[in-house]
Each structure stands twice: as structure tokens, then as C-alpha cells.
């Protein structure tokens, strides 16, 4: 007869057992963020991530020099949305000093109205 004794795996629960789940959580969130950004992009519109601390004007100059225009700035410093018809815009902005240039997502989260175009 079985009693209230712990079953296999029950008593060894600890951080070591939680680690795989935590790693998966971190990687999953990163992957979801990436997938969120990369899916459903807006053609000719880019998300620009500059070095943290870069001033807004410097980002504006950077975009203009790459023959594009600023659509808006993100909530965090160093993040901007730009638009350009130049197929080499992404390369040009990186050349001007941007860290990461990605196609701009159409929308983020699930609270906004569908099919929003900025």
C-alpha cells in the first residue's frame, strides 16, 4: 500500500529543476519578440536601433543621410521608425552608424486596431 511518501521527482524540486523552464522562458520570449517584429512588416518602412544614448537629432541626420525620412521615434531612446524607397536604405543607415535595421512591424501587441499602417 502506498502512503503519503513523496513520489519520484517530488522531493528534488529546486532551482536545478526550474532552470530548463527558465531558460525556455527567456529564449521563448526572445523568439516571440523577434517573431513579432519580423512578421507582418510594412514595405519601405524600417525599425532602426541606434547606439543607446544617441540623440534624436543624430538619428534624424543619420536617416536623412541615408536618403530616408523619420516616421517616428520609439518610446526608448535610440529607436526610430524610418521610411525610404531606396532598396539600399538599410545598408546605408547601418553605414551611418545604426546598430540594427529591421523591416518595420505592422503592429505590435494585440490591443491596437487591426491593419494599422503608420
Amino acid at each position: 500500500m502506498e502512503t503519503g511518501a513523496p513520489a519520484p521527482g517530488e522531493q528534488s524540486s529546486g532551482w536545478a529543476d526550474a532552470l530548463p523552464a527558465l531558460v525556455l522562458l527567456v529564449l521563448g520570449l526572445a523568439g516571440l519578440a523577434t517573431a513579432t517584429i519580423l512578421t507582418s512588416t510594412v514595405p519601405g518602412q524600417y525599425l532602426i536601433l541606434a547606439r543607446p544614448g544617441t540623440a534624436t537629432g543624430a538619428i534624424l541626420d543619420m536617416v536623412y543621410r541615408a536618403r530616408g525620412g523619420i516616421v517616428g521615434f520609439g518610446g526608448l531612446p535610440g529607436i526610430a521608425l524610418a521610411a525610404s524607397d531606396d532598396p539600399g536604405f538599410a545598408e546605408a543607415v547601418r553605414a551611418e552608424g545604426a546598430w540594427i535595421v529591421l523591416p518595420s512591424p505592422k503592429l505590435l501587441g494585440c490591443f491596437g486596431p487591426p491593419g494599422r499602417d503608420l
Binding site: A7, P8, G9, G28, G31, A33, I37, S104, C110
Partner: protein
């Protein structure tokens, strides 16, 4: 952890494997539908999630790693669906799925998993629904809604944690209760086992005690039966009768206790067969009518005409109930009468419900006494037990039986006025009586019958039976009326052909009526006359009676038995028997039909006393008996030696090999049809009977053996085919069944003496030889006793001589001995000298005749080599040596069973009847001279050397 929770986790863990893999096509479909991502990529991601969990499940089972991972993997599914439904109106609805998968994790009953999945969901929302939109589109970071979602998720998480705690506590409580229940169950099982063992031990005790008690009762009743058939002084007969009554009472008591305990144990099994209810009731009435008559009570029966001729049920148990109620009614009734009435209260196509009421005018009972009258070991009150005796089990057994038959039993009683015991019973309706019950042939139906019985119930029974047989019968209540009817009808030229006379009737009894019929000048031709009695009647029947009585029928009279007897007496194509020629063959039903006379049966019985009784009964019935002391010997006789037995009577409990094992062995080569085996067992249990029948036995007789039943059962099973008869005739010649007495042996009246010993010539020969040895010097002995002043001894010797000489039909000697006894009793010692001298003269030819039956010296001498051969044979035969050793021990113990032991020894030696009867050891045993028998037996021991083969015999 609770084992039940562990089992639930295992089932849920396995379910999750299938559930996660099932998401893969769903994700692919979502991707194909909303076109946010390529289908393969979506399916690949879904497969990745399923694979992560699957690997964890395979490696860690239900361990914490697997559980924690499952919490994250599960919320990964709705999170990924949010992406796949990006821009679609359903995207928002995918949040519902978060709640579903978080709730699904409750099946792990693990707080950590719920915390993981809830925290993961909250982080997912903060990152992807607030931080990331805010980072890109500052206006989209709706922190309030994210917080709202997070609060709902946390609330759900708290609810789930509470539920998990509650469920786990409930499981813990259930586990504790389960542990306690299991512990109690184990204790209960132990107790049950002890109770069952105790019950089994009780059953074994009952079975064993039954065997142990029944065996000596068998001896007591058996010898009583034999004694009652011998010549006894009135005082001795009275003592024997009382001894027999006590034995019967003891047996009834044991049967009651056994019945009750068997019923209590739920082992009362009812049989079902067709029977005649009227005959069954009539039989029970006949069983008690003598008791009723002795107490001056009337006995009447009323049976509903609507009751079918044949009903189906357990006749034996029904009889038990009826007999018990009738016996009680008689016991508790001082004056008045008892009435038994049976009526049909309802019936359908195949069942009939009967109500039987036994009413009396006895002492009655109060309401309080009635309340517990059917309880075990209860009588009306303790004074009842003191006054009337009994165990108080009878009515309890009746209740058990009646309830088993879907009926009920109740009593209505008024103190001082009487009681009415009523029981109902459901019985089947038997097959058509005309198809089942045999009817008399035409010659019987044409007979005019007169029945004389003072008991109205018996008259009614016989009247009903005759009516069913389409026979004419006139009934009268007394012998004198019967005689008057016989004379009147004879004078009118319309005489009766058949007369049934009850023996015990007030006024002129049955025998007196027969004598009056014989001396009646108006009865030129005596009708076929049957005496009906419940008592041993042999000793009261005179020689002249035998000429007029065709048969004696035992009560209770049953229709089948009566018809069988009538068929024997008046066969279809033979003239009526009107002489007493067949009296002995039919007397008391203890003789088998002529066709079975002389058949050989094997009696397998280890108890010497029981063996002796059975041999006597079987011999009396006209059978030749071989004996075996155990199953091994029986099997050897049947399987190896093939004596062509007509039947085997098999004791069940025996040393070396019991009856069941022996029967199974015999049945491998001898079918039940060709060799009937009848069990003799002291066990009264149905299981024992079934065990015997299951082993292949044909029938079962319980001990103490009832002689009637023994002969009846043998009559049913004995084989009477020509092969059996031929074997018997051959055997009779081989075993020395030759006349052991001359045709005449004056002055002994051999014919009459033979009749006294039921025709057993060998026994009569032994008696005569013994007489010669015992009384050869009776004159000298008497004179010596008188000279020594031992007058009482002399009178006793004369008395014994009178009795023995009378039984041997010696003319004059009994009278002379009686005169000597009377003279000695009167103190006239001097006058007896002349009588003794005359006695010696009269005894001389008798002694000479008796001595003529002794083996002549030359013959004894001639027998010496034969004895030596016997010794040689016995020397070589282990069986003979064993038999001789057993006999020697019996002689040393001065055991009565030594006679049986000698016969076993003689069997082993193969002695024929003549040699056996003349054997000095047997002669010494018959004189109860054990020392002489032992000396003679030891004298037959073979010496060690071949030259010392002489024997002392």
C-alpha cells in the same frame, strides 16, 4: 506524495505529449490561414515545443523538470498563436487560451507549475504587449490593460493554487482514510479468516463427533435389533427395548443438532422430485398413530381434493416438518385429538401453494410463549423442557425448512384449549399421475378388499390409496367387525379376497382376528391376509398363524410398498397366495426377493462390530457376504480376483484406503451399471452424500444402518441378471455352501429349530455342537452344585438348559429342566435327584447327536496336514499373517470382535464353511473361552524349521 496524485500526474503527463503534438497541425493551419508566417516555420516551431516536452517526459517522467517545462511550453502555444493571428480579429480571442492552458496545469497538482505558467504569461504580456510596443510605438504601450491582464492571470493563478491546496489536502485525507480502511480491512480479513477457520473447525468437529457418536450408536441399535429377534426373557426384552429407545432418542438428538447446524450454515439443500403428497402425509400419520393411540388420542386427516396427485419438492424435508408438528401435538395433548388438514390455497400453471395445519386440543401456549416458539433452543418455557423433554430445535428446524421452501410457519394457540400450527409451502406440480404412478394390474383391481384398522387416519389413507387404484375396499375399525364382515360376506357367497389387518387394535387384535378367521366355520377359504404393524411381531406369530398370514407389512405403509407386496403375492397370471409359505420371505420386509437370494455382495467395513451386524442382516436377507477391512483389500478382491459381486457396500472412512478413493479406482474398470457401490457412512451431511455420489457410488446409506433401508436400497440396486446368478451358483459350490446339517438329527427338531434361526443351518450346527459341549455333563454338574450348596447356580443352570433346549426343539428336556428349576426354587433339593437322573437319560441321545456333528478324530487327524498346509499358506500370505496377528490381539483384549477377526483369518486362509465352523478356535470363541482360543491359535503358529510344521489343532 499521495499515490493517487502520482497516478493522475502520470496520466496527465502522457496526455500532454499527445496534446502538444496535436497543436502542430493546428499551428500550421493558423499560419496558412492568416499568412503571417510560412506554414513549415509555424509547424516547426510547434514541433519544437512538443519535442522539448516529449524529451523531458521521456527522460524525467512526471518529475519537476518535466512539470516546470510543461508550464512554459503550454503557455508557448497561445503565445505563438497570438503571433500567427497577428492582425486577425481572433488575435484578441487567443488570450482565452492562455487562461485555458494555465488552468490545464492544475492537473499536475503542483504549485510551482502554476506559478511558472502564471509568471511566464505575465512576463509575456509585459514584454510583448507593453514593453515592445512601447519601445517601437510609444502610443501603443497600454500599461493599464497589460496590468489588468496580469492581475486576472494572477487571480486565476491564486485560485488554482487554492484549488490545488484543497485538492491535495483532500487527497491526503482520503489517503489517510484509505490507509485506515485498508488496515481495518486487513484486520477484518484476519478476523474473518479466524471465524472461517473456527467455523470450519466446528464443522469438522460436528462431522467427526457425528461419526464418532453414530458408530457406537450403530453398534447399539444394530445389536438391539439382533437381540430383539432372539429369544429373550420378558425382562430382558424390556431392557433391550428400552436400550433401543434410548439409542433411537440419542440418534434423533444428534440428527437434530446436525440438521440445525447445517441449516444455520446455509447448507440446507433441497432436493426436488415428484412425490405423492397424500402418501407422504399418510406415512407420517402412520408413524405417530401408535403414540396417539397409546395416549388415547384420536388422529384425523383432511386433504384437499384439489391438490395434484403428484407434486414436486423435497419430500424428506416436508415429512420432517409434518412429523415434527404431529409429534409435538401428541406430546403436548393429554386428551382429545389431533387433526392434520392440507389445503391448496393457490396454484398456477406449474406451481401450487399448500397450507398444512396441525391442530391439537393440548395444553396450548400464551402469547408470550408463542412469540419465541420458533427460536432456536426454545420451548414454551423451561418447565416444558423439564416436563416434556426435547431440545427445542424441532420447530426452529421446521421454520428453516419452510422458509427455504418459500413458505412461512405460524402458530395460533390458546392456553388450555390447544394449538394450531400452520405452514405454507410452494411446491411444483408433478407430471401426470397416471403416467408416473404404477397402478395395480387387473387381477388386483378385481379383488374385494377388507381393511381393519382402529385409526381413522390410517383407514383414510388406505381408502384413498385403494380409490386411486380403482380398487374396492371396505373399512372397519376393529378385528371383531372385520371377522363379522368376512363371515357375512362368505356366507352370502361374496367373500373377500384380501384382508389388511392392523395388529394393535383394541379388543380383538390383528393376530387374534387371524386365529378367529382360521377357526371360523363360515370361512371355508382363507383370504390373502396381510398384517400391518409398526412393531416387531415375529415372536408373537405362532406356527399356525404363519399358515394364514401371507405377509407382514411395516408401518408407515406407503402406496408403492403395498403395491409391490400385492404384486408379489398376487401376480398377474398366478392364483392368489393364501398360505403362509412366503411369510418368511416377506416378513417385515427384511428379505430380498427370490431372484436376489444367494447373490454375493462385498462388505467393505473396517469396524468389526459393524461388520458383524451387517453380515448378519445381509445373511438374513438371503445374501452371501464377503468382507474386506479396507479399500485396498476391496480393490484387490474386485479388480484382481473378480468374484462377480452383485454389489459393494462401502464404508467411507477406513484406514489405508478410504471408500471414496477405492470407488474411484474401481470405477476405472467397473461402471455403476455393472457393479453398484453403496456408501455406508456415519456422516449425515449432504456434502458427504454428494462426495460419495461424485466418486461414482450409486447410493448412500447413513449409519446407524436401518435394516429396512439397507434391504430396500439393495433391492433397488442389486443385479439380478443371469450372469450374476450363474456366478453365485458356482460360487456357492466353491465356498462350501453345502448342507452342514443332516436332514434329521433326532432328538433335535431340526425343521422347527431351523425356522427359529431364520434357516441358518451353519448357525444351528454351531449351536447344537456348543450345546453338546456345554451340557454334556449337565447331570453331574447339577449334582455337584447341589452337593456344594450352590442351589442358585444349579437353578440358573436348569433355567438356561430349559431355554436353550427349547430353542433347539429338544422334546421333554425343557419340561424336565423346568421341573428341576422349580424344585430347586422351592427348596426341594432332595426331590430333584430323580428328575436329574431322568434328565441325564433324556439328554444322552441329544448329546450323542450333538457330538456326531463334531469332526471325528480321524478327520481331525486328517485335517492336520491340511492345517499344516494352511499354515504354509498363511506363512506365505501377508494377508493371512496380518489377519492372524489382528485376531491374536483381539483375543488378548478378550474382544467380542474376535469372532469377526477369526472369520477374517479364515477368509484369508480360504477355509470353507464346514472347516470354519468346526475349527477349534471358533468353537472356543463361541464358548467365550478366549484363553483356550489364544492357546489354540498360538498352536497354529508355524515353527521355523520345515520339520516343525505340526500344529496343535
Amino acid at each position: 506524495m499521495n499515490a493517487e496524485i502520482h497516478r493522475l500526474r502520470e496520466r496527465f503527463g502522457a496526455l500532454l505529449v499527445w496534446l502538444l503534438w496535436a497543436h502542430v497541425p493546428v499551428l500550421g493551419a493558423a499560419a496558412a490561414w492568416n499568412k503571417v508566417m510560412s506554414v513549415p516555420a509555424a509547424m516547426l516551431i510547434g514541433a519544437g515545443l512538443a519535442l522539448i516536452y516529449h524529451i523531458a517526459w521521456l527522460r524525467c517522467g512526471t518529475g519537476a523538470v518535466t512539470r516546470n517545462l510543461s508550464g512554459i511550453v503550454l503557455i508557448g502555444e497561445p503565445a505563438f498563436l497570438l503571433i500567427l493571428f497577428a492582425g486577425h480579429p481572433w488575435q484578441m480571442d487567443m488570450h482565452m487560451y492562455f487562461f485555458a492552458v494555465i488552468a490545464l496545469n492544475i492537473a499536475w497538482f503542483d504549485r510551482a507549475v502554476i506559478v511558472f505558467s502564471g509568471t511566464g504569461t505575465a512576463l509575456h504580456h509585459l514584454l510583448l504587449l507593453y514593453f515592445l510596443p512601447y519601445a517601437v510605438f510609444p502610443s501603443d504601450g497600454d500599461l493599464a490593460r497589460v496590468v489588468l491582464h496580469a492581475v486576472i492571470v494572477i487571480f486565476q493563478m491564486l485560485v488554482l493554487l487554492w484549488v490545488i491546496d484543497m485538492v491535495r489536502k483532500a487527497f491526503e485525507r482520503i489517503s489517510v482514510m484509505s490507509d485506515e480502511l485498508i488496515a481495518k480491512s486487513v484486520a477484518l480479513e484476519d478476523r474473518n479468516r479466524l471465524v472461517e477457520e473456527s467455523s470450519r473447525a466446528k464443522s469438522m468437529f460436528l462431522a467427526n463427533i457425528s461419526h464418532e457418536i453414530r458408530t457406537p450408536i450403530n453398534a447399539v441399535l444394530g445389536f438391539c435389533h439382533l437381540l430383539q429377534r432372539s429369544r429373550l426373557e420378558p425382562r430382558q426384552r424390556d431392557h433391550v427395548a428400552k436400550l433401543n429407545d434410548a439409542g433411537v432418542s440419542l440418534l434423533r438428538l444428534i440428527n437434530d443438532v446436525l440438521d440445525f447446524s447445517k441449516n444455520e450454515a446455509g447448507k440446507l439443500t433441497l432436493e426436488s422430485h415428484d412425490f405423492d403428497l397424500r402418501a407422504a402425509i399418510g406415512s407420517q400419520i402412520q408413524l405417530v398413530e401408535e403414540s396417539a393411540r397409546a395416549r388415547g388420542l384420536s388422529l384425523a386427516a383432511r386433504i384437499d381434493d384439489r391438490i395434484p396427485a403428484l407434486v414436486t419438492g423435497d419430500e424428506l424435508r416436508l415429512n420432517q416438518v409434518v412429523l415434527n408438528l404431529l409429534s409435538n401435538a401428541i406430546k403436548f395433548t393429554e386428551k382429545g385429538g389431533i387433526t392434520i388438514s392440507v389445503r391448496q390455497i393457490r396454484s398456477d400453471a406449474d406451481r401450487v401453494c399448500i397450507e398444512c395445519a396441525v391442530s391439537d386440543t393440548g395444553i396450548g401456549m400464551t402469547a408470550a410463549q408463542q412469540a419465541h416458539i420458533f427460536a432456536s433452543f426454545m420451548q414454551a418455557d423451561s418447565s416444558t423442557t423439564r416436563r416434556f423433554g426435547g431440545t427445542g430445535l424441532g420447530l426452529a428446524i421446521c421454520r428453516q425448512i419452510v422458509e427455504q421452501m418459500d413458505g412461512r410457519i405460524e402458530v395460533q394457540s390458546t392456553p388450555g384449549l390447544g394449538s394450531v400450527f400452520t405452514f405454507t409451502m410452494r411446491l411444483g406440480i408433478g407430471a401426470d399421475a397416471s403416467c408416473q404412478a404404477p397402478l395395480p394390474h387387473d387381477r388386483l383391481r378385481a379383488l374385494r378388499v377388507l381393511v381393519a384398522d382402529d385409526n381413522p387416519a390410517s383407514r383414510d389413507f388406505i381408502d384413498a390409496t385403494l380409490t386411486r387404484w380403482n380398487m374396492r375396499g371396505d373399512l372397519v375399525p376393529s378385528g371383531s367387525e372385520a371377522l363379522a364382515m368376512l363371515e357375512r360376506e362368505a356366507m352370502a357367497g361374496n367373500p373377500y379376497d384380501l384382508v389388511l389387518l392392523d395388529w394393535k387394535m383394541p379388543g380383538m387384535d390383528g393376530l387374534q382376528t387371524v386365529r378367529a378367521m382360521q377357526s371360523s366355520p363360515h370361512l371355508a377359504v382363507m383370504p390373502t391376509t396381510l398384517i400391518v404393524t409398526a412393531y416387531p411381531i415375529d415372536e408373537f406369530i405362532r406356527d399356525q398363524d404363519r399358515a394364514a398370514i401371507s405377509a407382514v407389512l411395516r408401518k408407515p405403509l406407503d402406496a408403492h410398498g403395498l403395491l409391490d407386496m400385492l404384486n408379489q403375492l398376487i401376480p398377474p397370471a398366478a392364483p392368489p397366495v393364501s398360505s403362509g409359505a412366503d411369510l418368511r420371505a416377506s416378513s417385515a420386509g427384511l428379505h430380498l426377493p427370490q431372484a436376489m437370494q444367494g447373490l454375493c455382495v462385498l462388505l467393505v467395513e473396517d469396524n468389526a462390530i459393524n461388520r458383524e451386524i451387517a453380515v448378519e442382516l445381509l445373511n438374513d436377507a438371503g445374501l452371501v457376504v464377503d468382507c474386506a477391512e479396507n479399500g485396498v483389500i476391496a480393490c484387490r478382491r474386485i479388480l484382481d480376483e473378480d468374484h462377480g459381486y452383485a454389489a459393494v457396500l462401502m464404508d467411507v472412512q477406513m484406514p489405508e484406503m478410504d471408500g471414496v478413493a477405492a470407488t474411484k479406482l474401481i470405477r476405472q474398470t467397473h461402471s455403476a451399471d455393472c457393479l453398484p457401490i453403496i456408501a455406508l457412512t456415519a456422516h449425515a451431511y449432504e456434502e458427504e452424500r454428494q462426495r460419495c455420489l461424485g466418486a461414482g457410488m450409486n447410493d448412500h446409506i447413513s449409519k446407524p444402518v436401518d435394516p429396512d433401508q439397507l434391504i430396500r436400497v439393495l433391492g433397488t440396486w442389486l443385479k439380478t441378471g443371469p450372469q450374476a446368478v450363474r456366478k453365485e451358483r458356482t460360487r456357492a459350490g466353491a465356498t462350501g455352501l453345502v448342507p452342514v446339517l443332516p436332514a434329521q438329527l433326532p432328538p433335535f427338531g431340526l425343521d422347527r429349530a431351523l425356522r427359529r434361526v431364520n434357516g441358518k443351518a451353519a448357525l444351528l450346527r454351531r449351536l447344537i455342537v456348543s450345546f453338546g459341549e456345554s451340557y454334556g455333563r449337565v447331570g453331574d454338574d447339577l449334582r455337584a452344585m447341589i452337593r456344594a450348596g450352590r442351589i442358585e447356580d444349579a437353578a440358573r443352570l436348569a433355567h438356561t438348559l430349559k431355554s436353550v433346549a427349547g430353542s433347539l426343539e429338544l422334546a421333554e428336556v425343557p419340561d424336565l429342566a423346568g421341573q428341576i428349576e422349580a424344585a430347586l426354587g422351592a427348596g426341594e433339593s432332595g426331590a430333584v435327584a430323580g428328575l436329574i437322573a431322568e434328565l441325564a437319560d433324556r439328554m444322552a441321545p441329544a448329546i450323542a447327536a450333538a457330538n456326531s456333528l463334531q469332526p471325528a478324530p480321524s478327520q481331525a487327524s486328517a485335517d492336520a496336514p491340511a492345517a499344516a498346509r494352511i499354515n504354509a499358506a498363511s506363512h506365505a500370505s501377508a494377508e493371512a499373517r496380518a489377519a492372524r496377528d489382528a485376531l491374536r490381539q483381539q483375543l488378548c483384549r478378550r474382544s467380542l470382535s474376535a469372532r469377526a477377526g477369526f472369520h477374517a483369518f479364515a477368509d484369508a486362509l480360504g477355509l470353507d464353511a464346514g472347516t470354519r465352523d468346526a475349527h477349534p478356535v471358533l468353537q472356543a470363541l463361541l464358548r467365550l473361552d478366549y484363553a483356550e482360543a489364544l492357546r489354540l491359535l498360538d498352536g497354529t503358529q508355524p515353527e521355523t524349521g520345515p520339520d516343525n510344521g505340526e500344529v496343535a489343532t
